[in-house]
């Protein structure tokens, strides 16, 4: 869409009921959705901005996030082939995992999408959310906002009111999608991006979906606010990856919630590397017996970044299993917050739930690691444990490597790779693994001792 085709109210800073309505009109939405957006907007207005006084925000200061300073909507040129996408995006695609379907959201709009014929033939749907609303309204209506409702928190309310772009993935019963499906969110203006992801994996189906966030570095702050809803049907399997690598001007807020049917499996991986400040809520609802949720996290904070992860393993039904491993490295003056909760509801007997958080502080006394591994257990026949450690690179390990003739910097690098290896080795995606290794290497840079000394 051309900038001139965007209604004036969407071209000035700040969000209001008027903006929400104009956006809904622009997207030609059904009345129920316009109503829903406006309701969410009222919830947003009613909800105070979280402060350090709120338990869920006690370490993450967002007092300088001013939503009224951001443009609510930024269009992007329509593109007919991958070759016409911005070069940086093409590079991301080429360096990424091989894919069977692709969607690129450029700023507030979908610039390009493609689904392999074979997949389309088997009934797999992968479009942006607006297209899905036009073509598959009933199924979208049934699921949208169900896992991340407007009253989840202030940012979820904003997402429900002002989302734009996003993606909808539907994998029909029994369909096994072997090659991953990939979406990219690309931001190259100073403004906001508010994608919403809705994934439905039907009974016995399986799929891998990768959501990647990247942008050009800019001076002025930009704002990203997302919501991800993942429905995994009976016996189905979903691997979901969120790879956040925004430029350093972006404030990123995202809530990822899943529900699992009987004997369903979800493997999630949440990677946080970029942004100035990033707050991600990852919640797995074990809503039927036999569900299995693997939750992996990898974060690396440098300079004055704030990377905050709040996780929940919500065992509602008996006989479910969850296993969480979040590992993070910190350097410079960064802050990393991990707050995880295993909640075993009444009656969720035979629950098996594990949670581990490990932090590695690299060559600095200015970094600050917070770890809050919490448990709330209301059933007695369960196996639950959690662990948390924080420390520095082990001198003994370094000494060993150096005694084998490896220079200190290389040795440090190896130790950090080894640290993250516990997470990356559990991801069966080679392209993604390589991407992560490169990013980690970039973060380590010249070696961390040097910069501090």
């Amino acid at each position: 869409m051309q900038q001139k085709d965007v209604p004036a109210v969407l071209r000035s800073k700040g969000i209001s009921a008027e903006v929400v309505e104009a956006l809904s009109n622009l997207k030609n939405e059904p009345a129920w959705l316009t109503g829903k957006r406006l309701e969410a907007w009222r919830t947003f207005e009613k909800t105070p901005m979280p402060t350090l006084r709120d338990e869920a925000w006690r370490y993450t200061d967002i007092s300088d996030v001013r939503i009224e300073d951001f443009l609510p909507y930024a269009p992007s040129p329509d593109v007919t082939s991958e070759g016409d996408l911005p070069e940086a995006v093409q590079k991301l695609i080429n360096e990424g995992e091989e894919n069977s379907a692709l969607l690129v959201q450029h700023n507030s709009e979908t610039a390009y999408s493609r689904v392999d014929e074979e997949l389309a033939r088997r009934g797999v749907i992968f479009t942006d959310l607006h297209t899905a609303l036009e073509e598959h309204e009933e199924i979208v209506k049934e699921h949208l906002f169900k896992l991340v409702p407007e009253d989840y928190d202030k940012f979820a309310a904003l997402s429900a009111a002002a989302f734009s772009g996003g993606s909808f993935l539907f994998v029909p019963r029994g369909v096994d999608v072997e090659v991953p499906i990939q979406s990219y969110r690309w931001l190259d203006v100073v403004g906001s991006i508010m994608p919403r992801t809705l994934v439905l994996v039907e009974e016995g189906a399986s799929v891998t979906y990768i959501d990647e966030y990247a942008s050009v570095d800019d001076e002025e702050p930009a704002f990203s606010n997302g919501a991800v809803e993942l429905f995994v049907g009976e016996g189905a399997q979903l691997r979901y990856v969120s790879l956040q690598n925004w430029g350093r001007n972006v404030m990123h807020f995202n809530t990822i919630r899943s529900s699992t049917g009987k004997d369903a499996t979800i493997n999630s991986l949440v990677v946080s590397l970029g942004s100035q400040l990033s707050r991600t809520n990852v919640e797995a609802g074990l809503t039927a017996s036999g569900g299995d949720s693997e939750m992996l996290g990898l974060y690396f904070a440098d300079s004055n970044q704030v990377l905050d992860h709040h996780t929940l393993q919500d065992h509602i039904s008996p006989n479910a299993h969850s296993d969480l491993l979040y590992k993070g490295a910190l350097r410079d003056e960064s802050l990393a917050v991990f707050s995880g909760l295993i909640r075993v509801e009444r009656g969720a007997q035979k629950t098996d739930a594990y949670q581990t958080n490990r932090n590695l502080i690299l060559g600095t006394d200015e970094a600050f690691a917070i770890s809050l591994p919490n448990l709330e257990i209301m059933a007695d026949d369960v196996k639950c444990s959690h662990g948390s450690t924080t420390g520095q690179v082990d001198e003994v390990e370094l000494f060993y490597l150096m005694s084998r003739g490896i220079p200190r910097k290389e040795a440090e690098k190896l130790v950090v790779f080894g640290f993250f290896g516990e997470v990356t080795s559990r991801i069966p995606l080679l392209g993604l693994k390589e991407k992560l290794d490169r990013a980690i290497e970039g973060k380590i840079g010249l070696g961390f001792e040097e910069r501090v000394a």
């Binding site: 009444r346 770890s371 809050l372 591994p373 709330e376 026949d381 196996k383």
Partner: protein, 470 residues
């Protein structure tokens, strides 16, 4: 909310001219609720110096300003206007043995506690006195310069020492309940151990004669001077019966360089009591502070003994055991702050939840920048005995220093079928087997207690567990 009034307005400035007839100034009958007048009367009744009165009145202001905590246990039913803030020991003794509830009497009976002692514990009799033992110990302590007295006498007889340390570890505005205690405190112990003195026999408030022992708002201050050692035991394992529904104590410990303090408590308040206690210690160079903290009684306990490691090489250890039966919530844990290099700490928590009981571990481990070489370990184990029981773990970990090593681990489990099966195959009933497994579970903490306490603790848990097997 009552208005704050100055000392003059209350006519208390006359205090400095001497105190003639306390009765005249004191209430003929106890009064509920709290206001500056009550606070002033407490101070006047105790013949306190003016600075303490000011301390109390300032604390009262903090108490009013501070919000009631919204985290932890449910305090909504706690009505501050329905509580007696000061009852003279005389009045306290006015109750009779017949007023003591049957279940408490039964527990005394089964623990085999002598009648005289039972009456003390139930707050209906004079304190159990074992004068001979006490006197010989007292002489020995006095010879080496040890001070061990109730807090009121401590203030009268060692005013300078008390003034130097009182309220420095836990300032009145630390939290709402510390403020309340600071305003209306009465009783508790004052202990000073001179440099190099090791007290071999644990000090027990128990031994003290003619003093208010376990008050509602007792206040304890222990100072262990350089290189000294003391083990202090608060309270006892038998149920402490009170008609009042709030117990809010403040305990401050100071371990000077190379000193070691161990402080043991087994709390067994009757099940109608809110037990909201602030306990904190500072440990200087190479000093050690150990809290052994058992929570069995009360309706709701919120208590997190803390150690601030202020000097290089200081060490803190917290052992916490909690048992939450039907309707009880034990919100306990520990707090360690590493503020100096090469400090170390260990927190071990064991909790058991039964029936509708809920036990919560809530802890903070903080390593400040500069506390390099610090090591810390937190271990929480929870045992659930019923499907309606609940356990929570909230360990806050805040690390600002890279050269550290911190570990936290928690596990939750139920009593294993195989363990029960094994014990029952050896001829134990299911109930006995269950009690044995539970005793084994808390053994690491029980073994840190003096023998008679450990035995009583085990016996008590056995009593609590009776009827737990359907």
């Amino acid at each position: 909310m009552p208005e704050d009034r100055t000392i003059q307005e209350l006519g208390l400035d006359e205090y400095k001219f001497g105190f003639h007839d306390p009765e005249e100034y004191f209430f003929k009958t106890p009064r509920k609720g709290i206001d500056p007048e009550i606070v002033a009367m407490i101070s006047k009744h105790k013949n306190e110096p003016e600075w303490m009165l000011e301390f109390r009145l300032n604390a009262l202001k903090s108490f009013w300003e501070k919000p009631t905590p919204q985290w932890g246990g449910n305090l909504n039913e706690l009505n501050f206007d329905e509580i007696y803030y000061y009852i003279r020991p005389m009045e306290n003794q006015g109750r009779s043995w017949d007023d003591v509830p049957e279940d408490i009497k039964n527990t005394f009976e089964r623990l085999g506690i002598p009648q005289a002692e039972r009456e003390t514990l139930a707050g209906v009799g004079a304190q159990y006195e074992s004068e001979v033992v006490y006197h010989s110990l007292k002489e020995e302590w006095e010879k080496s310069g040890v001070i061990f007295t109730d807090m009121d006498s401590g203030l009268r007889e060692h005013e300078d020492l008390v003034r130097e340390y009182f309220g420095t570890i836990i300032p009145p505005d630390d939290n709402k309940f510390a403020a309340l205690n600071s305003a209306v405190w009465s009783g508790g112990s004052f202990v000073y151990v001179p440099p190099g003195v090791h007290i071999d026999i644990p000090l027990q408030a128990y031994f003290r004669i003619n003093a208010e022992n376990m008050g509602q708002f007792e206040r304890t201050l222990i100072i262990a001077d350089e290189g000294s050692y003391v083990h202090y035991i608060e309270g006892c394992t038998a149920p402490t019966y009170t008609t009042n529904s709030l117990h809010s104590a403040v305990v401050e410990l100071i371990a000077k360089p190379n000193a070691r303090i161990r402080y043991s408590t087994i709390q067994n308040w009757s099940h109608n009591t809110y037990n909201l206690v602030t306990k904190r210690a500072v440990a200087y160079e190479d000093a050690t502070v150990e809290w052994v903290d058992g929570n069995l009684g009360s309706k709701l306990t919120m208590k997190y003994p803390a150690v601030y490691l202020m000097g290089e090489g200081a060490r803190g250890e917290i052992l916490s055991v909690a048992y939450a039966g039907d309707g009880q919530h034990q919100d306990a844990g520990g707090k360690v702050v590493h503020a100096a290099p090469n400090t170390s700490s260990l927190i071990t928590s064991k909790s058991i939840s039964r029936g509708t009981g809920r036990s919560t571990y809530r802890g903070l481990l903080k390593v400040h920048e500069g506390a390099e070489g610090s090591k810390s370990r937190v271990e929480c184990d929870a045992l659930l005995l019923d499907e309606n029981a609940r356990t929570d773990t909230y360990p806050y970990i805040e690390i600002e220093e890279k050269k550290v090593n911190t570990e936290h681990e928690a596990t939750v489990s139920k009593v294993g079928e195989d363990q029960l099966f094994y014990l029952m195959s050896r001829g134990l009933s299911e109930e006995e087997a269950m009690a044995m497994v539970v005793n084994g579970f808390i053994e690491p903490i029980a073994k840190e207690l003096p023998l008679e306490y450990a035995i009583e603790l085990n016996r008590l848990i056995q009593l609590e567990m009776e009827g737990s097997v359907g």
